[in-house]
Symmetry: C2
Subunit: 341 residues, 2 copies
């Protein structure tokens, strides 16, 4: 049914004749078309909750940048909202929760989210799937339980997430109770996404890097494991734990399909850690796209050769930054698509 299923093939370990490429945050402020669509909603939350607008910006990078996959435009924090903790997105500041989780009563008051609580995302997925008309696969996603937990405790972004980490150290049992509720909610959510037409899913553990190795395994990876176990039989799963350089081998043991890598990870070392039967995704430094075309070409070729043609999905090591020139992004995407080993 899909005209271009390179990303899915790579995720499943099937042979491809070229490396597929998509970009984290490909739908976003680098595109004037995104800004025009964004202007139709009165704020970020309304934007995320509008299936037509979400569909529009999801498809824009497929048309404009020529990427090999669409990723649904949404936000990882729809899960806390569906569980009973609404948030605002404050311009130039980031997410902000009026109420945060402080004690057992707060945790008990949270619902386990069901797919229908996130109907607006499911509608956006169905609409996008239809509009894409099989051109490229549609990627769904959720935040990893630890990352969602971190926001629910901290109430906003943070350099250290010291409140959330304090909660792990001082209330480990309650932490597990909350992480379990987030995990169940995330599983329900991803299942519904797949029923709505999502071809593969990515779990974003954006704040993996603030934890120690031991805490990461106990409070983060345990729950990713649970999600992968249920979701992988339904669709290929990618786990991207930013800055969790120490955890690559253990992440591979979740038996997910693909591991996302940030730009501090060496391709050869990662391959040694995770073995042959795992697809790797990443890991260009987003700032490379500030460089001239010659430098982009040179560094991208080095990266492609380091990862190799098979079992690899080209991407950045983090999301696109908003002030990156879209022509440079197009150049990068085209370079990858035209590259032959």
């Amino acid at each position: 049914m899909l005209k271009n299923d390179l990303v899915l093939k790579a995720a499943k370990g099937e042979n491809v004749d070229r490396v597929p490429v998509w970009l984290m945050r490909q739908a976003g402020r680098i595109l004037p078309e995104y800004k025009a669509t964004r202007a139709k909603a009165k704020n970020f939350i309304e934007f995320v909750k509008n299936p037509e607008l979400a569909c529009e910006v999801t498809i824009q990078p497929v048309d404009i940048l020529g990427v090999d996959a669409a990723i649904i435009f949404s936000d990882i924090l729809v899960i806390p909202e569906a569980m009973g903790l609404p948030y605002q997105m404050i311009e130039a500041k980031g997410p902000w929760f009026e109420k945060t989780i402080k004690n057992k009563a707060d945790v008990e008051a949270l619902r386990i989210a069901q797919g229908e609580d996130l109907n607006y995302v499911l509608q956006a997925l169905r609409l996008t799937k239809k509009e894409l008309n099989g051109r490229v696969p549609l990627i769904g996603f959720c935040g990893a339980p630890w990352t969602i937990f971190a926001y629910m405790i901290e109430g906003s972004g943070s350099k250290t997430f010291s409140k959330a980490k304090q909660f792990l150290y001082t209330q480990p049992e309650l932490s597990h109770l909350l992480l379990d509720k987030i995990t169940k909610s995330s599983i329900n959510y991803l299942k519904s996404q797949i029923e709505a037409g999502t071809d593969m899913v990515q779990i974003f553990d954006s704040w993996a890097g603030v934890l120690s190795e031991k805490q990461y395994y106990e409070f983060a990876l345990k729950y990713i494991n649970e999600i992968v176990a249920v979701i992988k039989p339904l669709a290929p799963v990618t786990v991207f734990a930013k800055d969790a350089h120490y955890a690559l081998k253990k992440i591979s043991e979740t038996n997910c399909n693909t591991i996302g890598l940030d730009w501090t990870i060496d391709a050869a070392k990662a391959r040694t850690e995770v073995g042959k039967n795992m697809t790797l995704q990443g890991n260009a430094d987003p700032c490379l796209l500030y460089a001239d075309e010659k430098t982009i070409a040179k560094e991208t070729e080095l990266m492609l050769r380091a990862f190799g043609k098979q079992r690899y999905i080209c991407n950045l090591g983090h999301g696109l930054y908003p002030d990156i020139d879209k022509e440079k992004v197009k150049f990068f995407v085209n370079f990858v698509k035209e590259f032959r080993f």
Copy 2:
């Protein structure tokens, strides 16, 4: 002359009969005594520039916490200031530079700092050395050239330091010119610190983690290397490159005495990377000090056993957070001092 030279012995690889301990940001907001001294200055910059006040807060943790070293109270950004780029410290926001470096003329306009430009730090060191009266060694420090560069370009803290990284990608030659000036300034500064009585020095590369491995070697480690080459014959040198997990082996090749580790680094892996002839420093998660005493004791014992008694200086993997209870810090310090293998 020193009554307690455990930290120096450990740094030099000499045998110690217990593990020495000090804490990054041990002079700071966890101590009411610090706050009282801080209140005597009208702002942070005036505080840093006042030798008597700097001496006072440098000695407080030796008296109150019982740590095995004092580290001079100062700021890494005194170097940009001495080179011609003044800054402000904005409450709850961090450093802010009115003028930043944008082009070649800006770089050329910068002075190479001389020791005497930082006379207020040298006075603070002399005063502290005298007041300490040989109780424990006095540690001096500077920011690593890349970290100083990052602030000079970005003009403030940043999650991504994307402007500074953009500068590296788009103006590599000019970047090297600026890094060279910072390096020469830092060497002058550290030499003067040692002349003023500093027993050992630490180079803080706080923003190592935003660079890729390749850029780290080209734009960061190269200059740390130059500093170590000049300074090590004068005093033991510690290099702490936060989040540069990939660079431990290369940092050990600078031939510094001690490598600081953040809390994401495994002790055994670090030892394998750097070899036997290198002292390791770190790496408790600062958030561990939010836990109860039983947990602190358990985790600290694991850490001590993982690093071993020799060639190790106990510390955190980052600075103390301001809301940590000083009694917990005392408990941690005492636990380390009383621990026997």
